[in-house]
């Protein structure tokens, strides 16, 4: 019975919510919007796709044909260290070098914030049971970010060609597809970034640039050589290294 009443109340709120915008005299500032713009770079310079070449620390020269990754579970940290958890069902974003690189967040409570937390990939504890997260599937599917054979997400899709220093004419494709391995291995990573204090309010849309340093995929906590392994997908040894490296690739530009 209690649930029944709660539901009716919920419906009632929905009805009034529809009319809310007509009502004058709001007490505090309206919620605001925040655009997170992801800027893919290599060692600090904006990324360019093939034929532009880059070199990793293993002295391998590579070009990039595809770079996509999934961002999720966005949380904003207020100056008093309390957190605003962005609605999970709306917090899944595909960042595609050849497509959208922005996560548009709206309806954020007006406040002063100083940090942001987000997930690289898809959190296995939140997926897919929490309402709405399954709605990311068609988009991920169209972008080739779904391992359809296992009904799991690819967190990172990074592909291109490379040559090593000793064999400059021998161009070989490389492919990194990283996701979780069923319930066996979780490659989801949480990233926390600290920002200068900023204000969210209904008056203007805030924009923040998050740099993603592609070079770190190869060289960060771990060093990955393409010559050693140029195809990494369900690889319990290397996939976690890539996930760990990737989680260090994000930084704030202010």
């Amino acid at each position: 019975m209690r649930k029944y009443i709660a539901l009716l109340a919920g419906v009632a709120i929905l009805f009034t919510a529809c009319n809310n915008n007509d009502e004058p005299g709001n007490i505090i500032s309206d919620p605001g919007s925040l655009n997170l713009v992801f800027e893919n770079t290599v060692d600090g310079t904006p990324l360019a796709m093939a034929p532009v070449t880059y070199t990793n620390s293993s002295n391998e020269t590579y070009t990039i044909n595809e770079l996509k990754y999934i961002i999720s579970n966005i949380t904003l940290i207020k100056t008093d260290n309390t957190e605003y958890i962005y609605p999970v069902e709306n917090s899944y974003f595909l960042i595609n070098e050849d497509g959208s690189k922005t996560a548009n967040l709206s309806d954020i409570p007006a406040d002063t914030y100083k940090g942001i937390k987000f997930g690289f990939g898809v959190d296995p504890t939140k997926y897919p049971i929490e309402s709405g997260t399954l709605n990311f599937i068609p988009l991920a599917e169209e972008a080739g970010m779904l391992w359809t054979w296992s009904a799991g997400y690819k967190f990172l899709k990074f592909e291109g060609d490379f040559t090593d220093a000793t064999n400059p004419d021998d161009v070989t494709p490389f492919l990194y597809h990283v996701g979780s391995h069923g319930a066996n291995l979780d490659n989801y990573k949480e990233v926390t970034l600290t920002l200068n204090e900023f204000q969210i309010s209904g008056e203007n849309t805030m924009s923040k640039t998050i740099q993603f340093d592609v070079a770190k995929i190869f060289d960060s906590v771990h060093t990955l050589s393409l010559e050693e392994k140029n195809e990494i997908m369900v690889d319990p040894e290397n996939a976690p290294k890539i996930a760990e490296n990737t989680s260090t690739a994000f930084s704030i530009i202010e």
Partner: protein
């Protein structure tokens, strides 16, 4: 105490969008909220069962959700050829498996590499498919929908077909309380249908619950053999400890199925498959992940004489003398089969709620 309550689902969307400037002539003129009652279905865990693993609270089956899930399950629109529905490979009278083919057949008669699994008691499983590739029941249907050898479709395309359909938009709204055909709702409706498929009324269940049935001497003897020789893997009421193991099947060079290794990438998981529940086993032939064994006699002959060695072969099958297999006498085989047949649940396979027609 059982709480019976109702969702009052109110389609309120028009009242919200009435200020929008769509002068569509077909916009309903009646602004009154339309009310549909959508009772929750009674999902009860049988008293001899373990707790459900599926989060019923997050996706409680309702009458309309179940009906929608059932329609989707039997609808060829989920496949690229408009014909191969889930029910094409999962046939109720065989406890939702497929008989006429050893491995499954999909769109354009394409042949899969694995034997369609029965669908029953899914609400109690941790992972799905023979290698546990799917970690959630809600997402499992992505696999058949998109597999070339199964339904050969895309989720996006299925959603466009459903949105353009005459009936689905209304059915989605009735099931979920507001307008909208979405992936989330489609998968949840399918889960609501599948979660309700509880098979718990076999002779064995009744015996376990102390209801008025008696096991024959053979059935009793078979149960005792089962408990000593099989129940270490086929454990508990559902006859599975839900682990992945190599039971010594010779590798089939055509499929070269690496089993659980596909999911984990670990060579220690090579050729391991999920220990299957043996419920309704009498009617879910052919047996094993690739359906290579036709009868229960074949299965038991395999367990005694058909195994081959490989690095991941389960230790339980290694005999002290260096050979492999289980020691089961011909008499024990007859007893075992008698016991296995007590796992058949005719109420389930005849349950009209799940029937296509």
């Amino acid at each position: 105490m059982k709480i019976a309550y109702y969702f009052i689902l109110i389609l309120f969307c028009w009242s919200c969008s009435s200020d929008a400037s769509d002068g569509d002539a077909t916009t309903p003129t009646d602004d009154d909220a339309m009310t549909v009652t959508n009772p929750l279905l009674d999902f009860t865990v049988p008293s001899n069962f373990p707790d459900a693993t599926y989060s019923i609270a997050q996706n409680p089956p309702t009458e309309k959700g179940f009906e929608l899930g059932k329609k989707l399950f039997y609808d060829g629109q989920l496949a690229s050829d408009g014909v191969v529905s889930c029910g094409f490979c999962h046939i109720q009278s065989f406890s939702f498996t497929h008989h006429t083919h050893i491995t499954s057949h999909g769109v354009d008669g394409q042949i899969g590499t694995r034997n369609a699994q029965p669908l029953h008691n899914l609400a109690f499983m941790n992972e799905f498919t023979w290698d546990g590739a799917a970690t959630f029941l809600d997402t499992q249907p992505i696999i058949p929908i998109t597999a070339e050898v199964e339904m050969n479709e895309t989720v996006s395309n299925v959603l466009s077909k459903l949105s353009a359909d005459d009936d689905y938009p209304t059915l989605f709204a009735e099931a979920f309380g507001s307008e909208g055909v979405s992936a989330d709702r489609m998968f949840k409706a399918l889960s609501q249908f599948m979660v309700m498929m509880v098979s718990a009324n076999s002779k064995y269940d009744k015996w376990e619950r102390g209801e008025a049935v008696t096991f024959t001497d053979q059935e009793h003897a078979g149960r005792a053999v089962f408990n000593t020789k099989c129940a270490s893997c086929h454990a508990g009421t559902l006859q599975t400890d839900q682990s992945y193991r190599n039971n010594g099947l010779p590798i089939d060079p055509v499929y070269n199925d690496i089993g659980r290794e596909r999911v984990t990438g670990l060579s220690t998981d090579n050729r391991k498959f999920k220990v299957p529940s043996l419920r309704n086993i009498e009617i879910t032939f052919p047996y094993m992940h690739d359906g290579r064994l036709g009868t229960l006699e074949d299965v038991l002959d395999f367990y005694t004489d058909g195994m081959v060695d490989s690095p991941t072969l389960d230790d339980q099958f290694r005999r002290p003398d260096g050979t492999f297999g289980l020691d089961i006498s011909p008499e024990e085989k007859v007893q075992l089969i008698a016991f296995l047949k007590t796992l058949t649940d005719n109420d389930f396979i005849e349950d009209r709620r799940f029937a296509e027609f």
